[in-house]
């Protein structure tokens, strides 16, 4: 029986959770091979896909079936043999459905890594056992930390090439810990693997009996993700107002949106921002069915006891638990514009939850040397793939929490007003 059949037969899919993870590694760390291995050993590769991989492997003259080709996407990648953009992969086991954001490792594509990391619960960072912790390991870890990914797994790969040595594993583990003490990552695990041969990926390794921890797959299936969302501070950015204009629902005004934090239920006292009007929740529902409670990441519709003015861009919060309200924002930015560096006194469109406004960049406080986490206060030119700390002022107040408290209300993007391209990914500092 295949894994896929078990998913149904166990009738467990009603309880299946979703885990999103990213994979990062330097070129040749075996990232694509690892993903190919996860998909292959969990029996998530279809025969026609496998057939295509076999054909390509033969054409390239590869000795064995090249599992890395499973994840190869676009033409230009196949020509260069490197991944150039975020590609999403899917597989499931009876316990969880997984979404992999497969992001490229080399330096010029940091923006893709940030993109993949922004929605991830977990990051897999690959380290080549022969080379240990290198600059890119640090860069990837910094991004995981900056983007607030709750769980990080350091996969020390190619253990077969260091004779399955426990000493090498421990050395790398210690080196990493020393470096990571400067970062804000709560949950780090180390797993020695060989993606090529499959050791400790899905199946336990027979070559590394000294390792007593779990395999990568076991970890992915069991890591505790229930607390990854904020269930404390009630935040509801209004996306759109539903007004049916029908006889049956003549006076209906439903506020539609996705809960960004906390818990909302019927009878709660709420405040609408920016107006400050207060009311009580009449009903929390999806498609007309009342819900007892609503919390992140649910998409719901809310009705209120009083007929007050609420529109897109407003935020409904629980009275007594206010977000910060300000026009002066202090944030970390990852710059994504290929053409221009960030402009001091430059004006950009800012998109934060369902709210748009304009902003002006007041100051670059420092640029970060991502290889050693040093703050560069002399070099403040923030170019593509650079990370730095900025201060900006918005035309209207925004309602936010610090990013490390809430990834939804603590993040925003900057859009170039001429090209409409997304140029900055920002995380608000506490």
């Amino acid at each position: 029986m295949s894994k896929q059949e078990e998913i149904f037969n166990a009738e467990s899919y009603e309880k299946m959770e979703l885990l999103r993870f990213t994979t990062a590694g330097s070129v040749d760390d075996g990232k694509s091979t690892l993903i190919g291995r996860l998909l292959y050993d969990s029996k998530s590769i279809f025969e026609d896909q496998m057939e295509a991989v076999k054909t390509s492997s033969e054409r390239r003259g590869d000795e064995n079936i090249n599992l890395a080709l499973v994840t190869d996407g676009l033409k230009s990648e196949r020509e260069q043999g490197i991944t150039i953009d975020v590609a999403y992969r899917y597989f499931s086991t009876p316990k969880r459905k997984f979404i992999i954001a497969d992001t490229p490792g080399h330096i010029q594509y940091t923006r893709n890594m940030v993109t993949g990391a922004s929605t991830a619960n977990l990051a897999i960072i690959l380290v080549d056992a022969r080379h240990g912790v290198v600059e890119q390991t640090k860069r990837h870890s910094l991004i995981a930390s900056l983007l607030g990914i709750p769980h990080v797994v350091i996969c020390i790969n190619k253990m077969d090439l260091v004779d399955w040595s426990e000493g090498s594993f421990n050395q790398i583990k210690n080196d990493y810990k020393q470096f990571a003490s400067k970062l804000n990552v709560k949950d780090v695990n180390f797993i020695p693997i060989s993606a090529l041969l499959g050791d400790n990926v899905v199946n336990e390794s027979e070559n590394m009996n000294w390792y007593k921890g779990s395999t990568l797959m076991y970890h992915l299936e069991n890591v505790h993700i229930a607390n990854d969302h904020n269930h404390i501070d009630s935040r509801f950015p209004v996306q759109t107002v539903i007004r049916p204009h029908s006889d049956e629902y003549h006076d209906y005004r439903g506020y539609a949106g996705r809960v960004a934090g906390g818990i909302f239920k019927k009878g709660d006292d709420i405040t609408v921002l920016p107006s400050g009007f207060t009311s009580k929740i009449k009903e929390v529902e999806t498609a007309g069915t009342p819900l007892e409670e609503a919390y992140s990441p649910m998409s719901i519709t809310m009705t209120l006891e009083d007929n007050i003015d609420v529109s897109r861009g407003d935020m409904i919060v629980r009275t007594g638990n206010m977000p910060e309200i300000s026009q002066d924002i202090d944030a970390m930015v990852c710059w994504m514009d290929e053409k221009n560096p960030i402009r001091i006194n430059g004006k950009y469109t800012l998109i934060h939850t369902s709210r748009n406004c304009r902003c002006i960049i007041k100051e670059v406080v420092y640029k970060m040397d991502v290889n050693n986490l040093h703050k560069l206060e002399d070099d403040k030119e923030i170019h593509l793939n650079d990370i730095g700390r900025i201060r900006l002022r918005t035309t209207q107040p925004i309602f936010f929490d610090a990013y490390n408290r809430n990834r939804i209300t603590g993040s925003f993007i900057l859009v170039d007003e001429g090209s409409n391209v997304t140029v900055g990914a920002c995380m608000i500092r506490s």
Binding site: E14, M16, L74, N112, T119, P244, A287, R312
Partner: protein, 300 residues
């Protein structure tokens, strides 16, 4: 108490969020309706997203003229039930007007000919966002597609120049003449779709369920005999018990031998399947990059 939701609810919440963003950010959005299960799923999600209001988008169907009769009948039935607006773009008309060229030869299809008809519909109706039921698990070029996919004034997709998509912030800003393709169910797999169809009890055309109909086998693919697929010399018409995993044109959509006549049996069959659902689509088999090439030109 643990505040978690299961994977299907999370996918539903994500799709509804995306559709509401589309309604809020664009002036003339529409749903591109192919008649297949994924676009039927989209209309269901749209209904839930805006309840108790009507779906705020018209359905746009690019009719190749080679559809299964069942597809068209179901489309009309669905439009009536939803009280939605239907706009039909005709490939035949595009061919007659010289906008598209009919493929010649033994295995000709109207797949590529859909592109001009689609682009004409976009121009005629000034749509600025079209939602489709494409999923990233379907095909490798789609694995890199964004939720909000920017298209230039020629409707083209540039895989190297896509906007980064961060958190759940979607940037739908555009210049005059440009538009977006939006894919609310990007993160769903075929199995997710069927599980959700079962959970929500969504009605589908009968062709998705096992039934007996006259078929021919051609190049290893089972094709249903219709007005547009007639047996060739040496081909034998046989009554077969089949169902379809996807619904494209009758001329290119291969059928599967199957006894799955209920949703539960279909889920079991999909879970056990050893081939991707597009594995039997002649349009994707043309070359290794067939999908990527079509997308760059404006295909969905």
């Amino acid at each position: 108490m643990s505040y978690t939701i299961n994977h299907l609810s999370e996918l539903e919440a994500e799709a509804i969020f995306v559709m509401r963003e589309v309604a809020a950010q664009f002036e003339k959005p529409a749903i591109l309706f192919s008649g297949g299960k994924d676009s039927i799923l989209l209309t269901h999600l749209a209904k839930k997203a805006f309840f108790p209001a009507k779906i705020p988008f018209p359905l746009v169907h690019i009719d190749t003229g080679h559809n299964f009769i069942e597809t068209i009948e179901f489309r009309d039935y669905l439009v009536k039930t939803l009280d939605a607006k239907l706009i039909v773009g005709s490939v035949q008309e595009a061919i007659d007007k010289g906008l598209a060229i009919e493929e010649k030869g033994a295995n000709a299809s109207r797949n590529v000919a859909q592109i001009p008809a689609l682009l004409k519909a976009i121009e005629d109706h000034q749509f600025d966002a079209l939602m489709g039921g494409a999923r990233r698990d379907e095909e490798k070029a789609r694995a890199k597609e964004r939720f909000f996919s920017h298209r230039d004034e020629f409707g083209q997709w540039d895989p190297k120049n896509q906007r980064p998509e961060l958190w759940n912030i979607f940037n739908g800003k555009k210049h005059f003449g440009e538009h977006f393709r939006v894919f609310p169910i990007s993160n769903w797999t075929e199995l997710d779709v069927w599980q959700y169809i079962a959970k929500e009890n969504i009605e589908l055309p009968k062709t998705y369920y096992s039934h007996i109909r006259p078929c021919v086998e051609r190049n290893g693919t089972i094709l249903a005999v219709t007005e547009h697929v007639q047996p060739r010399e040496g081909e034998e018409v046989k009554d077969m018990r089949i169902r379809f995993r996807t619904m494209g044109d009758a001329t290119i959509t291969g059928a599967y031998k199957s006894d799955a006549d209920t949703i539960e049996k279909i889920i079991q069959e999909v879970a056990a399947a050893r081939e991707t659902e597009r594995g039997n689509r002649a349009d994707d088999k043309r070359s290794e990059t067939a999908m990527e090439d079509r997308k760059k030109e404006g295909y969905f």
